[in-house]
């Protein structure tokens, strides 16, 4: 446990003072506010809620921004040569993988926390459903953590941060777009006789499991979905790094 916190503290300090973290936090907070008040039609909706205008954009924002945080997690260790140094210490692989992941998660949560002015605005303007607000933030955090897990895994696979970013972003954006009605329409035209295939592809969409959180519902199925992807990503990361030594 002490190794986990040592790695977490070290990694968080390294992340926090890096240009990427500053860029991520600035861009995420700026774009989420911009989208809320423009494309999100916050004032036109005339409701004291962030469900449609604010939380709606988070999966797409995370798909584009979170891989920038995840891409450096292992590629930098490999390029610096410090991965070998870590392997030579009297510690297991799990605390290292978990500690690095948790440090990046803390940064993502910090980004979410920095959107508090929007929450304050909505509370000031009207009566807010706090349950819906809290579940929206939980869902948003889970989406971010899921995309982080995926990009950390790619980071363990490849040396190039650019390749990690491109692959992670592609996968994450696809998982967001798969649930869109336009894409569903296209899939139906491609597979006109096979609703099963269309439904299966649609079920891979992250939005399907996120939408409940936006409406104030914390569904077990959704928590298992996100938790499952995170666990599989982290296990695969640890497994790959262990196999590197073989």
């Amino acid at each position: 446990m002490s190794t986990f916190f040592t790695v977490l503290r070290h990694e968080f300090c390294s992340l926090l003072f890096s240009p990427i973290a500053v860029a991520y936090l600035t861009i995420f907070v700026f774009l989420s506010a911009l989208l809320t008040f423009t494309a999100g039609n916050f004032f036109i909706l005339n409701e004291a809620t962030l469900s449609y205008s604010f939380f709606r954009w988070h999966p797409l924002l995370y798909a584009l921004l979170v891989p920038a945080i995840g891409m450096r997690s292992w590629t930098q260790e490999k390029s610096q040569g410090t991965l070998e140094l870590l392997f030579a210490q009297p510690i297991g692989m799990s605390p290292i993988v978990l500690g690095k992941y948790a440090a990046a998660c803390v940064l993502l949560l910090l980004g979410l926390a920095l959107t508090f002015p929007l929450v304050a605005t909505v509370i000031w303007l009207g009566k807010v459903d706090m349950g819906e607000l809290i579940s929206g933030y939980i869902g948003s955090a889970l989406v971010a953590a899921t995309f982080l897990g995926i990009s950390c895994y790619f980071s363990a696979l490849f040396r190039s941060q650019v390749i990690v970013y491109l692959l992670s972003t592609t996968l994450c954006v696809l998982s967001v777009l798969l649930g869109s009605t336009q894409l569903e329409g296209e899939l139906v035209s491609i597979f006109p006789r096979s609703r099963l295939i269309v439904d299966f592809i649609g079920s891979l969409s992250i939005n399907q499991y996120y939408v409940g959180f936006r409406r104030g519902l914390i569904e077990l199925q959704s928590v298992v979905y996100f938790g499952g992807i995170i666990c599989v990503s982290l296990l695969a990361t640890a497994q790959h790094l262990t196999r590197r030594r073989l």
């Binding site: 002490s2 190794t3 300090c13 610096q80 070998e84 140094l85 870590l86 030579a88 210490q89 009297p90």
Partner: protein
Amino acid sequence: MLSFENISKTFGTKQAVRGLNLEVTQGQVMGLLGPNGAGKSTSMKMAAGCLRPSEGRVRLKGIDVWKKPIQAKQNLGYLPERAPLYEDFTPVEYLRFIAKLRKIGSRDLARSIDQAIDACFLQDIRHQLISTLSKGYRHRVCLAQSLLGDPDILIFDEPTDGLDPNQKQEIRDLIKRIRKDKAIIVSTHILEEVEAICTDVYIMDYGKKVFQGSPLDFRAQSENRSQIVIEFTGGDSQRILTRLNSAEDLETASLDTENGQVVVDLAEGSQTQVRNRILNIFLEENASIVSFSNRTGKTADSFRQLTLPGTSDRSSKA
């Protein structure tokens, strides 16, 4: 303390290390030499638990590195090739991180870091960002992390790589100071380092042992070992040669007419008196000695002879 038991490592079809059997005990500094690609760094990585052997096992203080890695590595300090560092931190922050990974208790943490900093002369730059340090200092910071917790086994992969002569000497002096109760294995390309700090030498080529012994034995592999070169004038050179060739403790004597020199190969274990005997022969033959010099074998010559392609008896020499 550190033992390699029939270690082999294969990458695809290439066998990087074959049948490595080596033991390093307390007080020994084992110099691991070999051409590039010989398998030195691979062997060291296997000892440090960074790479798993295809066959065999490595033990640190009797503990198998792969069966009980955490216990085994408690006794280990490792300086990897190219001295990896976290650029965003200062030496103190870097050492604190490594010390905590080594589970050095909070009571001993500050003392352990201070000892490592003092041992590697890092006092002046302890709070300076690593990214701003010179190559020499960066190397010493990485060396300092290997000393944290005073481990009994030290593995140094090219510890003086890229350092200037003064810094190299500082590192060598450090190794000489600490070697008394540790088992140290040092990989190096610098042959003078072998004689300066190593108690034993192990040479690898193509993943296999080609030599193991003391630095003196290593030097003795040179064709030019234990020679005396005498430049002279006057006297009957043929009579001098005949007398030298029949003298005790001399292997051969040959005449280099071009340079007016006689080259004498001394037998192994020959004593100081043989030099007096040689001098007397020249004096008795009325020759005037212009110069009289010892030509001991060069380690570079020994290295070349042991590792050049096509060298005979490449399987092992001891």
